[in-house]
């Protein structure tokens, strides 16, 4: 059972899946780090983005990896508008209200998708979906390797934005000290919306990376967002490197527990980790002390 012939490919597959999980968690942790809200609409937005990628492929023959370059800015704008026009005004400055508003948005988006596309599970068939790269120890699927690389590229881009641009500086300032940021002339409402937009753009990219090998239905986001919550808790709320490392760990754990406990019970390992982290290290691996 512990033969390296299957153990190594299983771990590699886990890492590849984990990178995409990390990307979804990045969006979530970013929004949490700045707005201090848990965005319940994250899963629904992922479903919406996957549908967008699905239709981009079906209607316009747009390859999902090309569509990512269009969908990321589109979803950035969507996220920006959502925070600026809906979540912000509806919450009246109270974090608890924001939480409930995102929950409401999740319900609206999911049911709108259900109404428009029914409960059908759809897939796209790209020619490279089943191509593999031979790494000697394992055959790795091309779309997953691309997903892995793209997830890291997005994480790097996010790091550059956060650390080297004025917008990034402003985001970090708002995250650290909202009142202080306001006093030095930072438009907090704009920064909130920017952050929400960035988080949503991450989700759009993740959707484009997932669609070649995954399926889409109106509830598909739920499965991912539960995993993403676990990653955010594991890596530390609001921590970008935490989300990345956490994603990879969760991917490997899921793959290995699927291997040993069976596919039906594959996610048990993830939630055992979730409980263990909450018990032993409530701030996560990279979380700052509360």
């Amino acid at each position: 059972m512990l033969s390296p012939v299957i153990l190594i490919p299983a771990i590699l597959n886990g890492l590849l899946t984990g990178a995409v999980y990390a990307l979804i968690a990045l969006g979530l942790t970013l929004i949490y780090g700045v707005l201090h809200i848990i965005n319940f609409a994250h899963g629904a937005l992922l479903s919406a983005a996957m549908f967008a990628a699905f239709f981009a492929f079906h209607q316009f023959g747009l390859d999902p990896y090309v569509a990512a370059f269009l969908l990321a800015p589109a979803f950035f704008a969507f996220g920006y508008a959502l925070q600026r026009l809906v979540i912000g005004p509806a919450s009246h400055g109270d974090d608890r209200n924001m939480l409930l508003v995102t929950l409401g948005i999740a319900i609206v988006v999911e049911n709108a998708l259900l109404y428009a596309f029914r409960a059908d599970t759809r897939t796209i068939d790209v020619p490279y979906a089943f191509q593999t790269i031979d790494f000697g120890v394992a055959f790795l699927a091309v779309p997953r390797v691309i997903g892995f690389a793209a997830a890291f590229a997005v994480a790097l881009l996010l790091w550059v934005i956060m650390n080297l641009t004025d917008a990034g500086k402003a985001i970090r300032a708002v995250a650290k000290e909202k009142l202080g940021a306001e006093l030095v002339g930072i438009d907090v409402a704009h920064i909130y919306a920017m952050t929400f937009g960035l988080g949503t753009a991450c989700v759009a990219v993740a959707a484009c990376l997932l669609i070649p090998t995954y399926y889409v239905n109106p509830n598909v986001g739920d499965a991912f967002v539960l995993v993403a919550f676990t990653i955010v808790v594991l890596g530390g709320m609001g921590s970008v490197p935490g989300a990345l490392i956490g994603g990879l760990i969760v991917g490997v754990v899921e793959s290995l527990s699927g291997l040993f406990l069976g596919e039906s019970l594959g996610q048990i390992g993830i939630f055992l980790i979730f409980i263990a982290v909450l018990l032993v290290r409530p701030n996560g691996l990279f979380g700052a002390k509360a």
Binding site: A119, T121, S264
Partner: protein, 410 residues
């Protein structure tokens, strides 16, 4: 004191009430006279046309509605009129199926055909039984469907007791004939009623036939990643892999095996493989499908009606899958029962189904004969993908090719 009461004799009273009663009876009798002349009969067609099983559900619906169209074009049911279809979507869940049964019952259907998946059929037949509503199961192979003593439930196709027995006997026959190259087996199955039940059955029966079951791997429906499963197959290196999954998962498993260059020594031998005997699979992924064997529902290729239906389905741009012809036959079975019952009364239809000896179908079964709701003649056939076609390899009586076994070296 004078008496102001209006005189009202016994004669007058009798005359007036008798007239009223006659008038009332006349107006009430009108619709029933119309019905007898053929006001139509409502039939529920219930399948999982959305959700994880949507492909199979839509194929099922196609078969059922094609049969209804043919019957209606020929004038409907003699004495009852045209069939009025009430379509239902079980959304690939048993709860969805039960909800549709409730709706169909309120709509006043005379009978329901369909269900497709075992877990859906288990729930829907039971829900229909509460209203004594006759129910014809199209596919659902779990034997519990017909062993719970439900008087309303009839299954036209074989259950997996019979299928597993036939599959096993045929596997042994094929293996013996080739000089027993295979000894070890691995089972990959979906984890609902259909796959789990089948895996349990195979696990008890395979060892008795001299096969060693190395491992049994369950997975949920839908599953979108079979890498781990295929890695396990690679590590265990069984002679035979037996998959029992629904369509999407079956295709993904076969493609992942091809992708990871994993190939069992002797065969991929499916029992009720969701895709193995599907023309869609063979056309879209001929390499992954090559030489896969299956013990599954199959039409009688010698029957001209079957060939005509195949042409008609293909002319619609659809694939002639077992969902299509099983449902087509189930509607035919119902039409025969309705005609003999000559009524939309549920009890009479149930009775007519129970005493059915219908031979107008296109399956290799012989005339229908129901014992406890199970059609006794129903049996599967063994097929193999050879080139770009699906050949029947057993039973020999209507085989169109010889089995390629064990697998030729890659």
């Amino acid at each position: 004191m004078s008496d102001h009461r209006v005189p009202f004799s016994r004669r007058k009273f009798l005359a007036s009430t008798a007239l009223g009663a006659a008038a009332a009876a006349g107006s009430l009798a009108m619709p029933s006279i119309l019905r007898a002349q053929g006001a139509g009969v409502k039939v529920g067609i219930l399948h999982p046309v959305s959700g994880a099983l949507s492909y199979s559900g839509q194929q099922s619906r196609l078969g059922a509605t094609m049969a209804v169209e043919e019957i209606n074009a020929a004038g409907g049911i003699k004495g009852l009129g045209k069939i009025d279809v009430v379509l239902g979507d079980a959304q690939s869940t048993s709860e969805g199926g039960t909800a549709e049964v409730e709706k169909m019952n309120s709509a006043g259907v005379a009978c329901i055909v369909g269900g497709y998946a075992s877990n859906i059929c288990l729930a829907t037949t039971q829900a229909a039984a509460r209203y004594d509503l006759p129910y014809i199961v199209d596919v659902g192979v779990t034997d519990a469907i017909v062993t719970r003593g439900l008087k309303n439930t009839f299954r036209f196709g074989p259950g997996f007791g019979v299928i597993a027995k036939t599959a096993l006997a045929n596997l042994v026959a094929i293996n013996d004939k080739a000089g027993k190259p295979a000894k070890t087996v691995m089972i990959v199955h979906e984890d609902s009623a259909f796959g789990s039940g089948l895996a349990k059955l195979l696990n008890t029966q395979l060892p008795a036939q001299g096969f060693q079951v190395l491992e049994t791997i369950p997975h949920p429906t839908p599953t979108r990643d079979f890498n781990n499963v295929v890695l396990k197959i690679k590590a265990a290196a069984p002679d035979i892999v037996i998959p029992a999954d629904y369509y999407n998962e079956y295709v993904l498993l076969a493609r992942t095996m091809q992708q990871q260059k994993v190939r069992p020594k002797a065969a991929i031998y499916s029992v009720l493989g969701g895709a193995a005997s599907s023309y869609k699979f063979v056309k879209e992924f001929p390499e992954a499908a090559q030489y896969i064997m299956d013990c599954n529902h199959w039409f009688d290729p010698r029957n001209p009606k079957a060939q005509a239906l195949k042409k008609k389905v293909e002319a619609k741009g659809q694939f002639f899958t077992y969902e299509v012809y099983l449902n087509y036959c189930c509607v035919g079975l119902l039409a025969d029962a309705l005609e003999r019952a000559n009524s939309t009364d549920r009890a009479k239809i149930t009775e007519a189904l129970a005493s059915s000896t219908w031979s107008g179908h296109i399956m290799p079964y012989g005339p229908t004969k129901f014992v406890n709701g199970q059609n006794q003649g129903a049996a599967p056939a063994n097929t193999q993908v050879q080139g770009h076609d699906i050949q029947v390899i057993l039973p020999e009586a209507f085989a169109s090719a010889k089995p390629v076994y064990p697998l030729p070296k890659a």
